[in-house]
Protein backbone atom coordinates (compact mmCIF):
# COMPACT_ATOMS: atom_id res chain seq x y z
CA UNK A 1 0.00 0.00 0.00
CA UNK A 2 1.20 3.48 -0.78
CA UNK A 3 1.26 5.84 2.21
CA UNK A 4 1.97 9.56 1.96
CA UNK A 5 3.06 12.31 4.32
CA UNK A 6 2.71 16.00 3.51
CA UNK A 7 4.08 19.19 5.00
CA UNK A 8 3.75 22.86 4.03
CA UNK A 9 6.03 25.15 5.97
CA UNK A 10 4.57 28.56 5.09
CA UNK A 11 1.71 28.55 7.68
CA UNK A 12 4.19 28.04 10.49
CA UNK A 13 6.40 30.91 9.36
CA UNK A 14 3.62 33.51 9.43
CA UNK A 15 1.43 34.69 12.28
CA UNK A 16 -1.32 32.17 11.72
CA UNK A 17 -1.41 30.66 15.17
CA UNK A 18 -2.41 31.98 18.55
CA UNK A 19 0.09 29.96 20.48
CA UNK A 20 3.73 29.14 20.74
CA UNK A 21 3.25 25.44 20.11
CA UNK A 22 2.29 25.45 16.47
CA UNK A 23 4.67 28.14 15.33
CA UNK A 24 7.80 26.97 13.54
CA UNK A 25 6.41 23.45 13.51
CA UNK A 26 8.83 22.40 10.81
CA UNK A 27 11.61 21.51 13.23
CA UNK A 28 9.31 20.62 16.12
CA UNK A 29 7.56 17.97 14.05
CA UNK A 30 10.66 16.37 12.56
CA UNK A 31 11.09 13.44 14.99
CA UNK A 32 7.42 12.65 14.78
CA UNK A 33 7.50 12.47 10.97
CA UNK A 34 10.62 10.32 11.10
CA UNK A 35 9.12 7.84 13.57
CA UNK A 36 5.81 7.74 11.71
CA UNK A 37 7.60 6.99 8.41
CA UNK A 38 9.85 4.33 9.95
CA UNK A 39 6.84 2.49 11.39
CA UNK A 40 5.10 2.44 7.99
CA UNK A 41 8.22 1.01 6.36
CA UNK A 42 8.56 -1.54 9.16
CA UNK A 43 5.07 -2.75 8.27
CA UNK A 44 6.29 -3.36 4.72
CA UNK A 45 4.58 -0.43 3.01
CA UNK A 46 6.05 2.43 0.99
CA UNK A 47 5.80 6.04 2.08
CA UNK A 48 6.31 9.19 0.01
CA UNK A 49 6.58 12.80 1.10
CA UNK A 50 4.95 15.81 -0.55
CA UNK A 51 6.57 18.96 0.76
CA UNK A 52 7.47 22.51 -0.16
CA UNK A 53 11.00 23.55 -1.05
CA UNK A 54 11.62 25.02 2.37
CA UNK A 55 10.74 21.76 4.13
CA UNK A 56 12.85 19.67 1.76
CA UNK A 57 16.20 20.67 3.23
CA UNK A 58 15.31 19.12 6.57
CA UNK A 59 12.85 16.39 5.68
CA UNK A 60 14.96 14.88 2.94
CA UNK A 61 16.94 13.25 5.77
CA UNK A 62 13.98 10.98 6.42
CA UNK A 63 14.24 7.77 4.37
CA UNK A 64 11.11 8.23 2.26
CA UNK A 65 10.73 6.13 -0.86
CA UNK A 66 10.07 9.27 -2.90
CA UNK A 67 10.06 12.97 -2.09
CA UNK A 68 8.04 15.37 -4.21
CA UNK A 69 8.60 19.11 -3.98
CA UNK A 70 5.31 20.93 -4.41
CA UNK A 71 4.46 24.64 -4.72
CA UNK A 72 1.68 25.15 -2.17
CA UNK A 73 2.07 28.93 -2.08
CA UNK A 74 0.54 30.05 -5.35
CA UNK A 75 -2.90 28.45 -5.51
CA UNK A 76 -4.93 31.26 -4.03
CA UNK A 77 -5.27 29.57 -0.64
CA UNK A 78 -4.30 31.68 2.35
CA UNK A 79 -1.56 30.25 4.55
CA UNK A 80 -3.88 30.39 7.58
CA UNK A 81 -5.25 27.14 6.20
CA UNK A 82 -2.40 24.81 7.04
CA UNK A 83 -4.46 21.88 5.76
CA UNK A 84 -3.87 23.08 2.22
CA UNK A 85 -0.62 21.12 2.14
CA UNK A 86 -2.63 18.00 2.80
CA UNK A 87 -5.52 18.81 0.48
CA UNK A 88 -3.28 19.62 -2.48
CA UNK A 89 -1.45 16.37 -1.86
CA UNK A 90 -4.79 14.58 -2.11
CA UNK A 91 -5.34 16.34 -5.43
CA UNK A 92 -2.02 15.09 -6.77
CA UNK A 93 -2.75 11.43 -6.08
CA UNK A 94 -3.66 9.26 -9.07
CA UNK A 95 -3.76 5.79 -7.52
CA UNK A 96 -5.12 4.34 -4.26
CA UNK A 97 -3.20 5.72 -1.29
CA UNK A 98 -3.42 6.54 2.39
CA UNK A 99 -2.45 9.94 3.74
CA UNK A 100 -1.15 9.69 7.27
CA UNK A 101 -0.44 12.75 9.38
CA UNK A 102 3.12 13.11 10.62
CA UNK A 103 1.90 12.77 14.20
CA UNK A 104 0.18 9.42 13.63
CA UNK A 105 1.93 6.17 14.55
CA UNK A 106 0.66 2.93 13.09
CA UNK A 107 2.27 0.26 15.23
CA UNK A 108 0.13 -2.45 13.67
CA UNK A 109 -0.99 -2.95 10.08
CA UNK A 110 -4.61 -2.12 10.82
CA UNK A 111 -5.59 -1.19 7.27
CA UNK A 112 -3.67 -3.90 5.43
CA UNK A 113 -4.96 -4.39 1.88
CA UNK A 114 -8.54 -3.39 2.59
CA UNK A 115 -8.32 -0.37 0.29
CA UNK A 116 -6.25 -2.03 -2.42
CA UNK A 117 -8.51 -5.08 -2.67
CA UNK A 118 -11.63 -2.93 -2.92
CA UNK A 119 -13.15 -3.98 0.38
CA UNK A 120 -13.45 -0.28 1.27
CA UNK A 121 -13.47 2.85 -0.90
CA UNK A 122 -12.07 5.05 1.84
CA UNK A 123 -10.42 4.93 5.24
CA UNK A 124 -10.56 7.44 8.10
CA UNK A 125 -9.35 7.48 11.68
CA UNK A 126 -12.65 7.82 13.53
CA UNK A 127 -15.98 9.57 13.71
CA UNK A 128 -16.22 12.76 15.73
CA UNK A 129 -19.24 14.48 17.19
CA UNK A 130 -20.24 16.00 20.51
CA UNK A 131 -20.46 12.52 22.00
CA UNK A 132 -16.98 11.34 21.10
CA UNK A 133 -15.36 14.69 21.89
CA UNK A 134 -16.39 16.11 25.20
CA UNK A 135 -16.24 19.82 24.84
CA UNK A 136 -14.71 21.75 22.06
CA UNK A 137 -16.31 20.36 18.96
CA UNK A 138 -19.37 22.55 19.27
CA UNK A 139 -17.25 25.52 20.29
CA UNK A 140 -15.37 25.37 17.02
CA UNK A 141 -18.41 24.94 14.88
CA UNK A 142 -20.45 27.59 16.69
CA UNK A 143 -17.61 30.06 16.28
CA UNK A 144 -18.05 29.72 12.54
CA UNK A 145 -21.73 30.55 12.55
CA UNK A 146 -21.22 33.93 10.87
CA UNK A 147 -19.75 32.13 7.90
CA UNK A 148 -22.29 29.36 7.61
CA UNK A 149 -24.05 31.05 4.75
CA UNK A 150 -20.87 31.26 2.75
CA UNK A 151 -20.28 27.54 2.94
CA UNK A 152 -23.80 26.21 3.46
CA UNK A 153 -24.06 25.19 -0.17
CA UNK A 154 -21.13 22.86 0.40
CA UNK A 155 -21.83 21.62 3.89
CA UNK A 156 -25.33 20.65 4.85
CA UNK A 157 -25.40 21.41 8.57
CA UNK A 158 -29.08 20.92 9.08
CA UNK A 159 -29.30 17.54 7.43
CA UNK A 160 -26.53 15.78 9.33
CA UNK A 161 -25.80 17.86 12.41
CA UNK A 162 -22.28 18.39 13.66
CA UNK A 163 -20.34 15.37 12.53
CA UNK A 164 -16.85 14.84 11.19
CA UNK A 165 -14.33 12.19 10.32
CA UNK A 166 -10.97 12.68 11.98
CA UNK A 167 -8.44 12.69 9.17
CA UNK A 168 -5.30 11.70 11.07
CA UNK A 169 -5.47 8.88 8.58
CA UNK A 170 -7.49 9.34 5.41
CA UNK A 171 -7.18 7.34 2.24
CA UNK A 172 -9.08 6.51 -0.90
CA UNK A 173 -9.43 3.60 -3.25
CA UNK A 174 -12.07 5.40 -5.31
CA UNK A 175 -10.15 8.16 -7.11
CA UNK A 176 -13.31 9.74 -8.49
CA UNK A 177 -14.69 10.20 -5.01
CA UNK A 178 -11.33 11.48 -3.81
CA UNK A 179 -11.15 14.05 -6.62
CA UNK A 180 -14.65 15.26 -5.87
CA UNK A 181 -13.81 15.67 -2.18
CA UNK A 182 -10.42 17.37 -2.63
CA UNK A 183 -11.77 19.78 -5.23
CA UNK A 184 -14.64 20.77 -2.96
CA UNK A 185 -12.31 21.42 -0.03
CA UNK A 186 -10.06 23.47 -2.32
CA UNK A 187 -13.08 25.42 -3.50
CA UNK A 188 -14.12 26.28 0.08
CA UNK A 189 -10.62 27.28 1.13
CA UNK A 190 -10.20 29.45 -1.97
CA UNK A 191 -13.56 31.06 -1.39
CA UNK A 192 -12.74 31.90 2.22
CA UNK A 193 -9.22 33.05 1.32
CA UNK A 194 -10.65 35.78 -0.88
CA UNK A 195 -13.52 36.73 1.41
CA UNK A 196 -12.85 40.15 2.94
CA UNK A 197 -15.13 39.62 5.92
CA UNK A 198 -13.54 36.30 6.71
CA UNK A 199 -10.10 37.83 6.42
CA UNK A 200 -10.94 40.45 9.00
CA UNK A 201 -12.89 38.31 11.46
CA UNK A 202 -10.97 35.07 11.11
CA UNK A 203 -7.37 36.09 11.10
CA UNK A 204 -6.30 32.81 12.62
CA UNK A 205 -6.85 29.32 11.40
CA UNK A 206 -8.67 27.69 14.28
CA UNK A 207 -11.67 25.61 13.46
CA UNK A 208 -11.71 25.84 9.71
CA UNK A 209 -9.71 22.69 9.20
CA UNK A 210 -12.40 20.85 11.06
CA UNK A 211 -15.19 22.11 8.87
CA UNK A 212 -13.58 22.19 5.47
CA UNK A 213 -11.61 18.98 5.74
CA UNK A 214 -13.27 16.76 8.27
CA UNK A 215 -16.95 17.61 8.36
CA UNK A 216 -17.12 17.89 4.60
CA UNK A 217 -15.65 14.40 4.31
CA UNK A 218 -18.34 13.00 6.60
CA UNK A 219 -21.14 14.72 4.68
CA UNK A 220 -19.76 13.78 1.29
CA UNK A 221 -19.20 10.11 2.10
CA UNK A 222 -22.62 9.88 3.69
CA UNK A 223 -24.28 11.53 0.68
CA UNK A 224 -22.53 9.01 -1.57
CA UNK A 225 -23.47 6.06 0.65
CA UNK A 226 -19.83 5.27 1.28
CA UNK A 227 -19.09 3.59 4.58
CA UNK A 228 -15.35 4.10 5.17
CA UNK A 229 -13.09 1.81 7.10
CA UNK A 230 -12.89 3.46 10.51
CA UNK A 231 -9.63 2.60 12.22
CA UNK A 232 -11.38 3.14 15.53
CA UNK A 233 -14.89 1.89 14.70
CA UNK A 234 -17.78 4.08 15.83
CA UNK A 235 -19.82 1.03 16.83
CA UNK A 236 -17.05 0.04 19.22
CA UNK A 237 -16.81 3.61 20.53
CA UNK A 238 -20.53 3.57 21.27
CA UNK A 239 -20.31 0.14 22.85
CA UNK A 240 -17.78 1.54 25.31
CA UNK A 241 -19.83 4.63 26.10
CA UNK A 242 -17.46 6.82 24.13
CA UNK A 243 -14.43 5.90 26.25
CA UNK A 244 -12.57 5.25 23.06
CA UNK A 245 -8.93 6.00 23.86
CA UNK A 246 -8.50 2.48 25.15
CA UNK A 247 -9.45 1.08 21.76
CA UNK A 248 -6.49 2.86 20.17
CA UNK A 249 -4.15 1.29 22.72
CA UNK A 250 -5.52 -2.15 22.00
CA UNK A 251 -5.20 -1.96 18.22
CA UNK A 252 -1.78 -0.32 18.13
CA UNK A 253 -2.74 3.13 16.93
CA UNK A 254 -1.48 6.47 18.20
CA UNK A 255 -2.22 10.03 17.14
CA UNK A 256 -0.42 12.83 18.96
CA UNK A 257 -2.99 15.31 17.75
CA UNK A 258 -3.08 18.99 18.42
CA UNK A 259 -0.31 20.17 20.62
CA UNK A 260 0.10 16.83 22.44
CA UNK A 261 3.06 16.20 20.16
CA UNK A 262 4.94 19.19 21.53
CA UNK A 263 5.05 17.93 25.10
CA UNK A 264 8.62 17.32 26.17
CA UNK A 265 7.97 13.78 27.35
CA UNK A 266 6.30 12.85 24.07
CA UNK A 267 9.22 14.18 22.01
CA UNK A 268 11.71 12.38 24.25
CA UNK A 269 9.83 9.09 23.93
CA UNK A 270 9.75 9.40 20.15
CA UNK A 271 13.51 9.95 20.07
CA UNK A 272 14.00 7.06 22.50
CA UNK A 273 12.02 4.68 20.32
CA UNK A 274 13.87 5.73 17.18
CA UNK A 275 17.21 5.13 18.87
CA UNK A 276 16.16 1.81 20.39
CA UNK A 277 14.15 0.23 17.62
CA UNK A 278 15.65 1.88 14.54
CA UNK A 279 19.33 2.29 15.47
CA UNK A 280 20.29 2.26 11.79
CA UNK A 281 18.69 5.71 11.52
CA UNK A 282 20.40 7.39 14.45
CA UNK A 283 22.50 9.32 11.95
CA UNK A 284 19.31 11.07 10.82
CA UNK A 285 18.96 12.50 14.31
CA UNK A 286 22.55 13.68 14.17
CA UNK A 287 22.05 15.36 10.81
CA UNK A 288 18.89 17.02 12.05
CA UNK A 289 20.60 18.38 15.17
CA UNK A 290 23.41 19.71 13.05
CA UNK A 291 21.12 21.59 10.68
CA UNK A 292 19.10 22.98 13.62
CA UNK A 293 22.27 24.29 15.24
CA UNK A 294 23.03 26.14 12.04
CA UNK A 295 19.60 27.78 11.76
Amino acid sequence: MKYVHSIWSTPSLKKNFDNKYDMKYLDKNFFSYLFSALLIKKLGHSIDLYCDKNSYEMYSFIPYDNINIVDFDNDGVDSKFWIWGKIKTHMLMTEPYIHIDGDVFLFRDIIGDKILNGEYDAVVQSRENDKTLNLNFNVYTESLTPFNEKISSDINWNKYGLEAYNCGVVGFGDMGLKNKYALKVAEILTKLSTDDEFKIKRKKYDGMFLIAEQSLLYYMLTENNVKPLEIIPYEEIQRRNCEWFTIADEIGYAHMWGYCKYKDDVIEKIKYKIKRFFPEHIEVLTKFNKICNNL
Binding site: D22, N134, D249, A254, Y259, K263, D265
Partner: protein, 80 residues
Protein backbone atom coordinates in the same frame (compact mmCIF):
# COMPACT_ATOMS: atom_id res chain seq x y z
CA UNK B 1 4.37 17.99 43.18
CA UNK B 2 3.26 15.39 45.74
CA UNK B 3 1.97 18.11 48.03
CA UNK B 4 -0.01 19.69 45.21
CA UNK B 5 -1.47 16.34 44.25
CA UNK B 6 -2.57 15.58 47.80
CA UNK B 7 -4.05 19.02 48.24
CA UNK B 8 -6.05 18.80 45.05
CA UNK B 9 -7.12 15.24 45.78
CA UNK B 10 -8.28 16.29 49.24
CA UNK B 11 -10.10 19.28 47.82
CA UNK B 12 -11.98 17.40 45.17
CA UNK B 13 -12.91 14.50 47.39
CA UNK B 14 -13.74 16.21 50.67
CA UNK B 15 -14.38 19.78 49.66
CA UNK B 16 -11.80 21.13 52.12
CA UNK B 17 -8.30 22.48 51.82
CA UNK B 18 -5.37 22.41 54.25
CA UNK B 19 -5.62 26.14 54.81
CA UNK B 20 -9.14 25.83 56.13
CA UNK B 21 -10.92 26.93 53.00
CA UNK B 22 -13.72 24.99 51.41
CA UNK B 23 -14.66 24.34 47.85
CA UNK B 24 -17.75 22.92 46.26
CA UNK B 25 -17.37 19.21 45.68
CA UNK B 26 -17.43 18.79 41.95
CA UNK B 27 -19.76 16.56 40.06
CA UNK B 28 -17.68 13.48 39.33
CA UNK B 29 -19.83 12.71 36.32
CA UNK B 30 -18.51 15.53 34.22
CA UNK B 31 -15.12 16.58 32.95
CA UNK B 32 -13.33 19.43 34.67
CA UNK B 33 -10.60 21.42 33.02
CA UNK B 34 -8.11 22.52 35.60
CA UNK B 35 -5.50 25.11 34.90
CA UNK B 36 -2.44 24.62 37.06
CA UNK B 37 0.50 26.94 36.91
CA UNK B 38 3.17 24.32 36.50
CA UNK B 39 5.60 23.88 33.68
CA UNK B 40 5.47 20.09 33.97
CA UNK B 41 1.88 19.93 32.78
CA UNK B 42 2.67 17.17 30.35
CA UNK B 43 4.31 14.94 32.90
CA UNK B 44 2.84 12.19 35.03
CA UNK B 45 0.90 13.74 37.86
CA UNK B 46 -0.62 10.61 39.26
CA UNK B 47 -4.35 10.33 39.60
CA UNK B 48 -5.05 12.72 36.76
CA UNK B 49 -3.71 10.04 34.47
CA UNK B 50 -6.23 7.44 35.57
CA UNK B 51 -8.19 7.93 32.38
CA UNK B 52 -7.31 10.44 29.71
CA UNK B 53 -10.36 12.32 28.52
CA UNK B 54 -10.82 12.60 24.78
CA UNK B 55 -11.07 16.37 24.66
CA UNK B 56 -10.31 18.25 21.53
CA UNK B 57 -6.65 19.09 21.94
CA UNK B 58 -6.17 22.01 19.62
CA UNK B 59 -4.59 24.46 21.98
CA UNK B 60 -7.10 24.88 24.79
CA UNK B 61 -4.58 27.25 26.36
CA UNK B 62 -1.35 27.19 28.32
CA UNK B 63 -1.44 24.98 31.38
CA UNK B 64 -3.99 22.44 30.23
CA UNK B 65 -3.07 18.79 30.10
CA UNK B 66 -4.08 17.12 26.87
CA UNK B 67 -3.43 13.59 25.75
CA UNK B 68 -2.79 12.06 22.41
CA UNK B 69 -4.72 9.03 21.28
CA UNK B 70 -2.73 5.92 22.14
CA UNK B 71 -0.20 8.00 24.04
CA UNK B 72 0.28 5.08 26.41
CA UNK B 73 1.84 3.08 23.58
CA UNK B 74 4.41 5.81 23.12
CA UNK B 75 5.14 6.01 26.82
CA UNK B 76 5.72 2.26 27.08
CA UNK B 77 9.47 1.88 26.47
CA UNK B 78 9.15 -1.70 25.26
CA UNK B 79 6.20 -1.28 22.92
CA UNK B 80 6.86 -1.29 19.22
Amino acid sequence: MEKIKKTILQAVTTGTTATGGTIIIPDTGVTYYMKIGLKQVGHDIGFFDAFPTPTYPYYPGDGYVVYGIGEGLLMDNDYI
